[in-house]
Symmetry: D2
Subunit: 313 residues, 4 copies
C-alpha cells in the first residue's frame, strides 16, 4: 500500500468582471462572476512543492479580465468556451479546464417612458449560470456546455395537490387537495455539442443563439409550472424538463433541483377567524428537496459535464 494523489484541480474563483460596451451612446452591460479551474500534470506541486507546471491563479484571473475585452463578453457560454479552450490549447501542462460563470441581469432605467442609454437597474430575479468543461488537446478535444439558472422563485396559490402517498408508522401528514406550491428553482441544461463540420471548442458553436435559447427555456419552465395542475412537485419538475427537451432540440438533458418551500396554513380558529387558504406562514427550514434529471434516450454521454462540484464541495 502507498499513499497517492487522487483527482485535483486549482483555479481562481469568483472574479467579479463587469464588461461595458460603449461603442454607441446606448451602452450595454454584462455583469458576471467567473471561476476557472485547471486540471493536468500538477502532481509535483502537491508532492514536492514544485510550481514549474503551475500557471498561477493570478494569471488565470488576468486572462479572464483580458478576454472580456479581447474576445468579448456577451453570452456567458461563448465567453466560457473561449476561456476554457485557451487554457487547454495554450498552456502545455493543462489537460482540462472547467469554467463556471454566474450572470446578474440588468434592465435599463426608464425615464419619461423611454429606456435610458446608460443607467441601469439590477433585475434581481434569477441568476443565470453556465459551466463549460474542456478536455483534451487537438483532435481529441471535447467540450461540454451546461447552461442554467438559480434562485428563480416561483409560486402558485392553487392548482397543487398532494395525497395518496405511502404511509408508515412515522407518517402524520394529512393529504391535501389545495395547497400553495413554491420553490426556488435551480435548473441546469446540457447542450448537445455540435459535431458537424469537424469544428471543436468555441468554433463548433459558431452562430448559436445562446440568448434566445436561455430566454425560451426560462419561459417554458415558468409556463409549465403555471399551467400544469400538479399532483406533486416531482410531477411538475418532470413536465418542466420534458417541455424544454421538446421545444429545444439543442438540449440533451435537464437537471432540476427544487426546494419545496413550505407555506403552512395558519391556524386562526382560536380567534374565531376563518382561514380559507388565505393566511400562511412561510417557513424557512426544513424544506422538501426534489431533484431529478430528464433526458433524451439518445443523449450523448454526459462525460464530466455534471461534475459541478468535482466531489470537493
Amino acid at each position: 500500500m502507498s499513499i497517492v494523489l487522487g483527482p485535483h484541480q486549482y483555479g481562481k474563483a469568483e472574479n467579479r468582471i463587469v464588461r461595458v460596451y460603449r461603442d454607441s451612446p446606448r451602452h450595454e452591460i454584462h455583469d458576471v462572476n467567473v471561476s476557472t479551474a485547471l486540471r493536468g500534470a500538477f502532481d509535483p506541486a502537491h508532492l514536492v512543492g514544485d510550481q514549474g507546471a503551475v500557471l498561477p491563479t493570478d494569471t488565470q484571473k488576468q486572462t479572464a479580465y483580458s478576454y472580456a475585452k479581447e474576445k468579448g463578453l456577451t453570452s456567458i457560454e461563448k465567453y466560457g468556451l473561449e476561456l476554457g479552450t485557451h487554457f487547454v490549447d495554450d498552456v502545455e501542462p493543462v489537460s482540462g479546464a472547467r469554467i463556471e460563470i454566474e450572470e446578474y441581469a440588468w434592465e435599463r432605467a426608464v425615464v419619461d417612458g423611454a429606456e435610458h442609454d446608460f443607467a441601469f437597474v439590477r433585475k434581481g430575479q434569477e441568476v443565470r449560470t453556465a459551466a463549460i468543461t474542456v478536455e483534451g488537446k487537438g483532435d481529441e478535444q471535447k467540450t461540454w456546455v451546461v447552461g442554467g439558472l438559480k434562485d428563480l422563485v416561483i409560486l402558485k396559490t392553487t392548482g397543487s395537490e398532494f395525497h395518496g402517498f405511502l404511509k408508515d408508522e412515522y407518517t402524520v401528514l394529512q393529504p391535501t387537495s389545495d395547497r400553495i406550491m413554491a420553490t426556488s428553482l435551480v435548473a441546469k441544461w446540457r447542450f448537445i455539442t455540435p459535431t458537424e463540420g469537424g469544428a471543436t471548442g468555441a468554433a463548433a458553436w459558431e452562430g448559436f443563439d445562446w440568448e434566445g435559447t436561455y430566454a425560451g427555456i426560462k419561459q417554458t419552465m415558468i409556463e409549465v409550472f403555471a399551467t400544469l395542475h400538479s399532483l406533486a412537485l416531482q410531477q411538475t419538475l418532470y413536465e418542466m424538463g420534458k417541455a424544454v427537451l421538446e421545444r429545444f432540440p439543442a438540449i440533451g438533458e435537464v437537471r432540476l433541483s427544487a426546494p419545496n418551500k413550505h407555506h403552512f396554513l395558519y391556524d386562526l380558529s382560536p380567534f374565531g377567524v376563518a382561514n380559507d387558504n388565505e393566511v400562511f406562514n412561510a417557513d424557512d427550514r426544513p424544506y422538501g428537496l426534489i431533484q431529478a434529471s430528464v433526458l433524451r434516450s439518445d443523449a450523448p454521454d454526459a462525460g464530466p459535464a455534471w461534475d459541478i462540484a468535482g466531489g470537493f464541495a
Copy 2:
C-alpha cells in the same frame, strides 16, 4: 448612585406572513416579514421576573397573522398602522409600539402573452419597507409612518465625475471625469401625519394612496439617478431626495444611505490591450458609504420616527 433600567422594548421579530386574496379567480398575493416591538411599563419583568404586564411575543405573532385576515394586508403601511394602534389601544401596559415590515414583490407569470391568475414569479428587485411608530393612548396618541426601500441596485456607466476634492498627506486617489457610479440604495421617507379632521392612528390616513406613492417615489429616484450628471454621489443623493419632496407633498423628509459600490478600471496594459472604460472589477469591500437627510424646512418633528434600531442594533 444606583443601577437603573433604561429604555427597553420587546417583541416578535420576522413573522413571515403570506396573505392570499382569492375572492375572484385572479388571486392576489402579499408576502411580508413583520416585526413588532412594544414599549411600556415592563420594568417588573426585568427587575424581578414578574410577567404580569407582559403580553407574550407569541401573542404578538398570533395577532399579526390574524390581522392579516381580520384587517387585511394590502398596503404594508396601513396594515402596520392597524397593528400598532391595536397594541397601544387595547393592551393596558403598552404605551408605544413599533411595527417594522419588509415586503417582497411578486409579478404574475406570463403564459402565452397573458398574465396568469394564480402563478407568480418573485420580482427580486428592491425590498419595500415600512416602520410605524405609535405612542400614547386616546387623544394624546401620535403616529409616525416611514416608508422605504432597500437593495435597489442602480448603476450608470457614464455621466459621473469625481474631482476637486480635499487632499492631505494620505491622499493618493486620482481625480476622474468619467467613472461607473453604482449603489445599492436604502431610502426611507417620513410621511407627514395628517391632522385635519381630528382622526388619529390608522383612521387619520383613510383613503391614502400608499401604492401609488410608493411607485412614484421609486420611479422619481431612479429618474434623478439616471439623468443627473453627477459630480459626486453626495450630489446625486441630495437631488434624489429633493425631487421626492418636490413631487410628493405627503412626504416631510427623505433619508438615503448609499454604499459607493466601487467598479475599478482593470489594468490590461501589461497585455497590450486597451481598456477604454470597458472592463471593470466590481469590488466587495471596502466601499464608500454616503448618508444624508433631505427635508422640508417646515417638516413636523420627527419624534421617534427615525429610531430605526432603537440604539440597540
Copy 3:
C-alpha cells in the same frame, strides 16, 4: 417652506485590515473590519457637487491602514480613538468622526501540546466591537467609547421558566416551568470618559486596560446567564447588565439586544416515544427580541454614543 439638507455623514466602510506583529519569533495577529464616517461642513458636496471640503473615502482608507502601523493596532478602542481624533484634529472641515470596528479573534495552533509561534486558528466565537465618536476641536473636543460584542450564542438546557404573563384574546401560549433558553447576544457598553488631568481624545484613556476589561465583561455576562434561575429573558438581561456595572466602574451603561432563539419541544407522542425535554426543533423565524439598557443613575450624558446607525440603517 424650502427644502434643506439635514444630518449627513460619509466614509469608507469595512476596511479589512490584518495587522501582524513580528518583532519576535512569536508573532501576534489582529484581524479587524474598520468603518470610518466623517461629519462636518460638507453641504456644498450635496448641494452643488463641490468636493473642496471632502477628504475622499479612499484617503480615509489609506489612513486606516497606515495608522495600523504608525500608531499600532492592539486594542481596537485605542486604535479607534487615534483614528477618530486624527480626522477631527487634522482635517479642517471635519467636526466629528465615528469609527466602528469589528475584531475577529484568533487562537494559536497547538502542536505537540505547545502553542505555535506563527500559526493560528480563527476562534469563531463572538465578534468584538467598538464604536468611537469624536466631536469638536481643541478644548471643546468630546469623545465617547462604546465597547461590545455580537454573535455570542449561549444556551441553557434548564433553569428557565416563563409563566404568569398577561393574556388577551390572541393568547394561546402555554406557561412553562422548564424550557431551553438560548440567544445570540449583542451587548454594547459605554465607557465613562475620564476627565481627570484634562487630557482629551486618546490621551485621556492612556494606560487603560482594554483587554482585561473586555475579557472580564464577557465572562461576567456568561456567568450571570449560567447561574441566574431565569423567570424571563428580560430578567436575565437586566441582571447581566447590572453585574457588569457592579464589577466595572469604568462602564456607565450597558445595552443588550437578545433574540429569544426558540427551541420547541418536538411532539413524539404519535410514535409512542416519550420526550422529556430531550428532543427540540431549533426554529429560525420568528424569534422573540428583547432589548434593554441598564445604567448608572449618575452616568454622564450619552450624547451621540448610541447613534449606532445614525438613523440611516
Copy 4:
C-alpha cells in the same frame, strides 16, 4: 428517441434537531442539521403524479426527530447510519438513502473556574460534517461513511513561499519567499467500511471511536498546516491528507478543498511608512481555490460516497 426520467432523489433538508441528554445533573447537548434523501422506484410520482411509493418528506422529518430519541444522537456518523439503514431496510420502494449532517459544537460555560452543568456557549469554530450513503437491501447492502469539517479558518503569518511557477503572456504575479497563507478549510474523509464479521449497516461499525477519530484528524491537519514550511498551498494540502492517512488506518481517502484567502501586503510607501509584512488587506474575492484528493493505493471503491451534490447542486 424518447424523453426519459434520469437519476432522481427526494428528501427533507435541514432539520434543525437539538438533542439534550439530561440523565444526570450534568447535561449534554448535540446540535445538528440533518438532511435526508431517498432514491428508488419513484418514477410514477414524476411521470404521472402517483405518490403511492412516496414516503412523504414530512415522514422523513418525523423519523429524524424520533430517532434522535429512539436510537440516540451522540456521534453524527452513527446516527446517520441508523437513519439511512432504516429507510432502506424498512421502506419497501427505497433502494438507497443519503443522510447529510452538520454539527455545531458547544462548550460548557465556565463559572468560577468550573464547567457548568447545563449552560453552554457555542464554540463557533469549524462545523463538523458527515455524509452516509446506504445502497441495497439485505445481504447486498453497502454503506459508505464520509466524515468531515468545514469553515476551519487557519492562517500562518510566515513559513509560506510561492515562486518558480509557470509564466505565460498574462503572468504579472511576482514570486514571494514570505507571505501570509490562509484558508477556510473544507475536508472530507472516507472511512473504510469494516467487512469482518459480516455485519452490515450501523452494526458493522459497532464500537468505533467516532469522537476520538474526529478530534485526531482535525488536530493532525492543524499540526501539518502549522509545521510544514510551505512552497504552495497544494503541497500543504497533500501533506495534511497524507498525515491523516498515516495516522488513521480507518480512513481510505481524504478530500480537501481550500480557498487561498489572499492577504495582500498594503502599500504604505506613499506615506513614508515601512511595511515589513505587518499590514495586510484581507481580500474577499476572487480567491484561489485548490482541491485535491489523497488516498491509499488499495482503498476500496468509493462508489457513491463522494456524490456530495448528486450533480444537482
